[in-house]
């Protein structure tokens, strides 16, 4: 029987969604667009933020090793994606992050102490600084996407120009909440940016086992959502495309899907052993090849903006800031058992009040 043509996405999609890159791994500007962005000031701002969050990230890993915080999810390797996207936001916008996106929330203005408190099993850490709209990290995969869509829906309804960004990984695209969130946003043209960090692994599961497609950007086609695939280790590409997506949102043009192709150099979390499922040599190679910080260093050197002292200074500043946050985290008031009862409802129920009383009495009884 002669074959009826069936339109197939397949191989053509990688060409339909070429990886958008401005700055190549050697630090050369390779695009005709936005040359104007490549200034010493902006480059240094990007670099300083990346140094800052990487300093935090590495410190957190060592705190976990010392048992000073709990299981921790490091983002090392994804700094360009998180810094570039977060710096594109307005202060009044909303962020809906996952457990791996505190690089973005800290860049946006989250309290380092609170981020550490969160990783130390303190929900106090979920409270954002005054005036910043930062949702607590989504732990169940992809569940934050519908929340972001709803918050965006609300902003549109209120007639504000606030936009929403939500972060999620490659694995998250397999969940129903990804699909339902994107469909809802496209139907109601909600001002939201779906920022996917495709680090190519969901814990041990490589992208090839997660989906048949070679790109995540193409999934936007199912919703008529404009999509773009970018180099997630090129902070300029991340910044520009996020800015544009945010502008589309503010202009009432609805949602955008950004696939930022990146890589995590380390383990999924401090509880994970990547050598079980991948050759960490690859991470080492990728680091030399396309580390987002190295790339900026090369760029700065080529443009004569690189300055050893300045680098040392911002590095020391970052270390100071992080150390300060660690001290504050560790000096933080110790957990009060009453707290687990006092925020279940705005007003405690009679039976909860009884349970609280009984526990406090027990603890009093046992401790004094």
């Amino acid at each position: 029987m002669t074959t009826i043509r069936m339109v197939e996405g397949g191989t053509t999609m990688e060409n339909q969604f070429p990886i958008q890159q401005f700055l190549d791994p050697q630090g050369n500007w390779i695009s005709e667009n936005h040359q104007e962005l490549l200034t010493e000031e902006r480059t240094k701002e990007f670099y300083q933020q990346m140094i800052r969050i990487r300093t935090f990230d590495r410190k957190a890993v060592s705190l976990q090793r010392q048992g000073r915080i709990g299981t921790y999810a490091a983002f090392e390797g994804q700094e360009a994606s998180q810094v570039g996207s977060a710096l594109a936001l307005n202060k009044k916008d909303w962020i809906f992050p996952t457990y791996r996106d505190h690089g973005a929330t800290m860049t946006f203005g989250h309290s380092l102490r609170n981020v550490l408190l969160f990783w130390n099993g303190r929900n106090e850490g979920n409270i954002p600084p005054e005036g910043l709209n930062i949702f607590p990290p989504g732990i169940p995969i992809a569940t934050q996407l519908p929340h972001a869509v709803g918050a965006a829906f609300a902003e549109k309804r209120k007639g504000t120009k606030k936009a929403v960004i939500t972060y999620f990984g490659d694995g998250a695209t397999s969940e129903g909440d990804f699909h339902e969130g994107l469909n809802f946003a496209s139907v109601f043209s909600s001002p939201v940016v779906f920022f996917n960090q495709n680090n190519q692994y969901a814990i041990s599961v490589p992208m090839s086992k997660q989906m048949k497609t070679k790109t995540i950007a193409q999934k936007g086609l199912a919703y008529d959502i404009p999509s773009v695939r970018i180099d997630g280790n090129d902070v300029f590409s991340v910044y520009v495309h996020t800015l544009e997506a945010l502008e589309r949102a503010r202009a009432g043009q609805g949602p955008t899907l950004i696939e930022a192709v990146t890589w995590r150099y380390g383990a999924h979390t401090t509880a994970d052993d990547p050598s079980k499922y991948r050759d960490q040599q690859e991470s080492t190679n990728r680091r030399e090849e396309s580390d987002p910080l190295l790339r900026l260093e090369r760029c700065m050197k080529q443009n004569g903006w690189f300055n050893e002292e300045w680098v040392n200074k911002i590095t020391n500043d970052a270390v100071q800031e992080v150390e300060q946050a660690v001290e504050e985290m560790e000096a933080y008031v110790k957990p009060d058992p009453a707290m687990i009862f006092d925020y279940v409802y705005q007003e405690i129920t009679p039976s909860l009040a009884k349970q609280k009383k009984a526990l406090l009495h027990m603890l009093g009884g046992d401790e004094q």
Binding site: W94, F96, N123, E124, N126, I127, P128, F135, P136, I139, P140, T143, L145, P146, H147, A148, V149, G150, A151, A152, F153, A154, E155, R157, K158, G176, D177, H179, E180, G181, N183, F184, V187, M339, I340, Y343, V344, Y345, Q346, T349, P350, S351, L352
Partner: protein
């Protein structure tokens, strides 16, 4: 000086429509979301006319995705709106179970009150209307087991309106269960305008001394029928309509059982891990020395709610209630 309140003769479902209209007028942040609630006015007509009156941006037909629109409603609620979401039948809420369990009921405690979720989920539920399978579930208990959730269930038009208004004004998520079987069972005069019934408070329907009967929703008429017949046999029943399944009105339960010493609980749900067992736990804790007989449960069974040709076997009947009352009386 006396004020006379106008009333309208409403069924349980039209009383809900009335409550929704009152709140849509009262607070511009209230909006309704769900499948077929717009032009169609809902498959049970609970939102009849509301889109025409309040507009497409207040009464919104959503795509067919319970997890998606409940999740979106959580984001809306956290960002200043007051969404009232209709789930077409309780049996179709399960795809949204995660959004409710991990987010709607936890956001307040996760952020120590910085964010909260003033969300109402409406769901018609229960068997007895010859509906297809899954449309007839009465799985209240999987929501009463959600710390942070409140679960209410009216049995009559007056309570339906008052509880709905209270639910919409509540700062926390409320699951509002609507007994399908009672939607149009009776009409009653319901006050116009805004009034509310406190969530967490049951209602004593009949005062009696011999036995306490605790029930709610569509089982109330079943119990009232049995109670009348029992009165002829000089058994006087203390009948409680719980109205709220979580948090339970423990005082009302205790006070009644301490008086009668005998209890029959009547519910439609599967007995295992059900609200009936929560009531037993309250009685165990508060009435041990008063009990003259073991608590009797008249309940659905630990079987799926059967296809409708079998549902009459599944549902509690006045006969089963009378049988249970007789049992506790003769213990």
């Amino acid at each position: 000086m006396t004020t006379t309140v106008k009333t309208n003769s409403l069924t349980l479902v039209t009383a809900i429509t009335d409550a929704l209209a009152v709140m849509l007028k009262d607070d511009e942040n209230v909006l309704l979301l769900g499948e077929d609630i717009g032009k169609n006015g809902g498959v049970f007509r609970a939102t009849e006319g509301l889109q025409a009156e309040f507009g497409e941006d207040r009464v919104i037909d959503t795509p067919l995705s319970e997890a998606g629109f409940v999740g979106a409603a959580i984001g809306m609620a956290a960002n200043g709106l007051k969404p009232v979401v209709e789930i077409q039948f309780l049996g179709f809420i399960y795809p949204a179970y995660e959004q409710l369990m991990t987010h709607a009921v936890r956001l307040r405690s996760r952020t120590l009150g910085h964010y909260s979720v003033p969300l109402v989920i409406r769901a018609p539920y229960g068997a007895g209307v010859r509906a297809p399978e899954i449309h007839c579930d009465s799985t209240e208990a999987i929501f009463t087991h959600m710390p942070g959730m409140k679960v209410v269930c009216p049995s009559n038009p007056y309570d339906a309106k008052g509880l709905m208004i209270a639910a919409i004004e509540d700062p926390d998520p409320v699951l509002f269960l609507e007994p399908m079987r009672s939607y149009r069972a009776v009409k009653e005069n319901v006050p116009e305008g805004k009034y509310s019934i406190e969530i967490g408070k049951g209602n004593k329907l009949v005062e009696g001394d011999d036995v306490t009967i605790i029930t709610w929703g569509a089982m109330v008429p079943v119990v009232m029928n049995a109670t009348k017949r029992l009165r002829d046999d000089d058994v006087s029943c203390d009948v409680i309509d719980l109205r709220t399944l979580s948090p339970l009105d423990e005082e009302l339960i205790a006070e009644s059982v301490q008086k009668t010493g005998r209890t029959v609980i009547v519910q439609e749900a599967h007995p295992t891990s059900s609200v009936a067992n929560d009531i037993m736990s309250v009685i165990n804790e508060t009435c041990f020395l008063y009990q003259k007989a073991p608590v009797e449960k008249v309940s659905g069974f630990d079987t799926p709610v059967p296809y409708f040709s079998y549902e009459d076997f599944y549902l509690p009947t006045p006969e089963r209630v009378i049988h249970a009352v007789t049992k506790v009386m003769n213990f």
